[in-house]
């Protein structure tokens, strides 16, 4: 039992953290909204320097863990780049991403000329759903919650990506948001220690402490689940879709409560872009909505659990009493 990320992955994340801080940390997300070209001009070279082009998370367990750690570091500063998708290159230079059931919408659509996109299979399907090669439509949404989100024109003749690629991308998206949530808890902790009200730091109020504890425990649990999912992906079973959807559904629930409480702990400052927490809350929205929000993700999870069960590592059910192989699905 070694649930920790390997040392090499941690070292890469530390180097990435220093590089992202040198870019300005969360400030780079603010600047990119006013200057979207900054992503190609400043962010991409840093990623190249970190070796993103040579890192294939499908290649080995170590590479997968390193990619996850890198994404977590990027999430801490809400790095304005589709790192998880770029890491899952289709071999022809296209990033891979899962798209919604009824559109071909992705974050940072225009930052590359072409995408390989696909839909997660519903129900008991084991192959990929529909998908193909996507070309970005002109311009991005430019909304406050999705400044870089854009739609793709899909050429289904190009072929959907392998399911495994979509699962790896989704796991890496989860690691990215995990980084954002961890940072949000740190920011809330710093804020309540420094903010004096009623003559004492907010941190001394029990109601504040409870919010903080719940948020931190939720993020800690999510991190364990994210690590477990990497391990399941590395083992490469057909049922890894269950684990990835389980991770995503939990991520979405944790994100909703953690972002809400960490923003709340900032008071009015929590909605001001001068404060990093506000930028984090806005910047992660595309990752929480694409390709599916919490209810649609749980719906997908129900279908995959019906197909594969939910056994994972931990055997349960009467079958094992005979000492036989663990065949037990959950129902």
């Amino acid at each position: 039992m070694t649930p920790e990320l390997p040392e090499e992955a941690i070292e890469l994340a530390e180097a990435a953290g220093r590089a992202f801080d040198a870019l300005g940390g969360v400030e780079v997300a603010r600047r990119a909204e006013a200057d979207p070209d900054l992503r190609a001009r400043e962010v991409l070279p840093v990623l190249e320097q970190l070796g993103v082009g040579d890192l294939d998370p499908r290649g080995s367990g170590l590479a997968l863990a390193a990619a996850a750690a890198l994404c977590e570091a990027a999430g801490r500063v809400v790095l304005p780049y589709p790192l998880a998708a770029v890491l899952v290159d289709d071999g022809e230079g296209r990033p891979t991403a899962a798209i919604p059931a009824r559109s071909a919408r992705v974050d940072h659509a225009t930052v590359v000329p072409s995408w390989r996109v696909g839909r997660l299979p519903t129900g008991t399907g084991t192959g990929t759903g529909t998908g193909g090669v996507g070309t970005p439509d002109a311009g991005a949404l430019g909304s406050r919650l999705g400044p870089f989100v854009g739609d793709l024109t899909l050429d289904v003749g190009g072929g959907a990506p392998p399911l495994r690629d979509l699962l790896v991308q989704q796991a890496l998206v989860a690691w990215t948001v995990l980084g954002s949530l961890g940072r949000a808890v740190e920011l809330a902790t710093e804020h309540v220690l420094g903010r004096i009200q009623f003559g004492r730091p907010l941190a001394e109020f029990q109601a504040v402490q409870f919010h903080l504890a719940d948020a931190a425990v939720a993020v800690a649990g999510l991190r364990e689940l994210a690590g477990f999912t990497l391990w399941r992906l590395e083992r490469g079973g057909d049922d890894a879709i269950v684990d990835v959807l389980a991770l995503r559904s939990h991520l979405l629930e944790v994100a909703r409560s953690v972002l809400r409480s960490t923003q709340q702990l900032h008071g009015a400052a929590g909605v001001c872009d001068e404060y990093d927490v506000s930028v984090i809350v806005r910047s992660v929205q595309p990752a929480l909505r694409l390709p599916a929000g919490v209810d649609a993700t749980v719906d997908l999870l129900v279908g995959s659990v019906e197909a594969f069960g939910f056994v994972g590592l931990f055997p349960h059910g009467a079958d094992l009493r005979d000492g036989g192989p663990d065949r037990s699905a959950t129902w």
């Binding site: 039992m1 029990q206 931190a216 690590g227 477990f228 559904s249 349960h316 094992l320 959950t330 129902w331």
Partner: protein, 388 residues
């Protein structure tokens, strides 16, 4: 990264399930039912586990244990709790009283107390909480007064009242926290190992939804404890309590029963699964994920124990997740059964295990330190700059 507990743990799990299958009556729901035979079942099962080296599988061999890993111990905890704790009232001695005696006891105390625990022959209870000292345990008032001079060399007289004492009516020994000397709060608290039938001890059961024999009041009226009864340093009881609570908080693998019940009830409902509302399907898979997370957080605590620390913050974090999981799974199970969730006994769905689980789950965010105390421990660690 590797989340596999290994072949030895898998083999141990299979072995335990075989024993449970062979030795426990169908529909067994633990020691605290209306049927007194259930307690006898657990006592016999403990002796059997001991004979096979499975009762104290992870204790060091010099204390009568199997010298196994903490992961072996984890598997035992999971399988026992998943199957309604067939060690009955003995799990407390196994999980933390024994380890506390190993950590803080004299060689004489270890020689006297550890072999009977390892042999499955003794039930321990813990006298911590008091009517005025619940979450605020350090305010306990039970006093131990030295006999003769102030050194305690001639023994102690203990007077006070304990409450919520599990298994006190069936225990042979009790570990009692009492205050010695003039100190306040954590100072002066001392732990005593006292026979439960010592003159001056009176046990009164408390009726509760947990079932008979579980919760009790314990009145201590001038109870004599010899100098050999002091566990750890005089006045150093808080360190023992900290060790004990860290073990206790990680000790109950509630997630394992949650997972088993979700699985068993799922099988029972299978023919009608498609008729259940979609919202229940969603709640079901969410519960499965929540159980997985709780389990992984509990494993994190074991991992911290493995590296030699007292993982009290990690244990509190795990307990927050595990106890909430316990309660939300109870609700999902009851929702799935609809009106049949009110049935109890062997004719009820899953032989009454859902009804039993729901009742027990209501206390999970209170026992072994309330969830509010766990949150305070976690928050204070965060505010000190520690990361979870």
């Amino acid at each position: 990264m590797d989340f596999d507990l290994g072949q030895d743990a898998a083999a141990l799990r299979v072995r335990l399930r075989r024993l449970i299958d062979q030795e426990l009556p169908d529909g067994f729901l633990g020691a605290f039912t209306d049927d007194p035979a259930d307690l006898a079942v657990t006592q016999a099962f403990c002796r059997l586990l001991a004979e096979q080296g499975l009762l104290t599988v992870a204790w060091p061999s010099e204390f009568g244990g199997g010298g196994g890993s903490l992961w072996d111990q984890t598997v035992v905890r999971e399988e026992m709790w998943a199957h309604h704790e067939p060690r009955g009232a003995q799990y407390m001695g196994l999980n933390w009283v024994g380890p506390a005696i190993m950590a803080h006891g004299t060689p004489e105390q270890q020689a006297r107390h550890l072999p009977p625990i390892a042999a499955g022959e003794v039930i321990w209870c813990q006298g911590f909480s008091e009517p005025e000292a619940g979450s605020d345990l350090a305010s306990l008032r039970t006093r131990a007064v030295p006999v003769g001079d102030t050194s305690g060399a001639d023994g102690w007289r203990i007077t006070g009242q304990k409450i919520w004492t599990s298994y006190a009516g069936m225990a042979q020994w009790c570990i009692i926290a009492a205050r010695v000397g003039p100190g306040e709060r954590h100072e002066g608290i001392t732990m005593f190992l006292v026979p439960a039938d010592a003159p001056g001890i009176e046990v009164r059961p408390i009726r509760s939804m947990l079932g008979p024999h579980h919760l009790n009041e314990v009145f201590l009226d001038d109870v004599f404890a010899g100098p050999e009864a002091v566990l750890g340093e005089l006045g150093g009881g808080w360190a023992v309590i900290r060790t004990a609570l860290a073990h206790e908080r990680v000790g109950i693998a509630r997630y394992a029963r949650c997972e088993r019940l979700l699985s068993e009830l799922g099988r029972e409902l299978e023919p009608h699964w498609g008729d259940l509302p979609a919202s229940l399907h969603a709640a079901w898979v969410r519960a499965l994920v929540q159980v997985r997370v709780a389990r992984l957080l509990a494993y994190r605590t074991v991992r911290a124990q493995e590296s030699g620390g007292v993982p009290d913050v990690a244990a509190s974090a795990a307990r927050i997740a595990v106890t909430q999981c316990d309660q939300s799974v109870a609700e999902v199970l009851c929702s799935a059964l609809e009106e049949r969730c009110l049935d109890a006994g062997s004719t009820a769905p899953v032989h009454g295990a859902v009804e039993d689980h729901w009742r027990y789950a209501q206390a999970s965010t209170v026992s072994s330190g309330t969830i509010e105390i766990q949150r305070s421990i976690v928050a204070k660690a965060l505010l000190r700059g520690e990361r979870l």
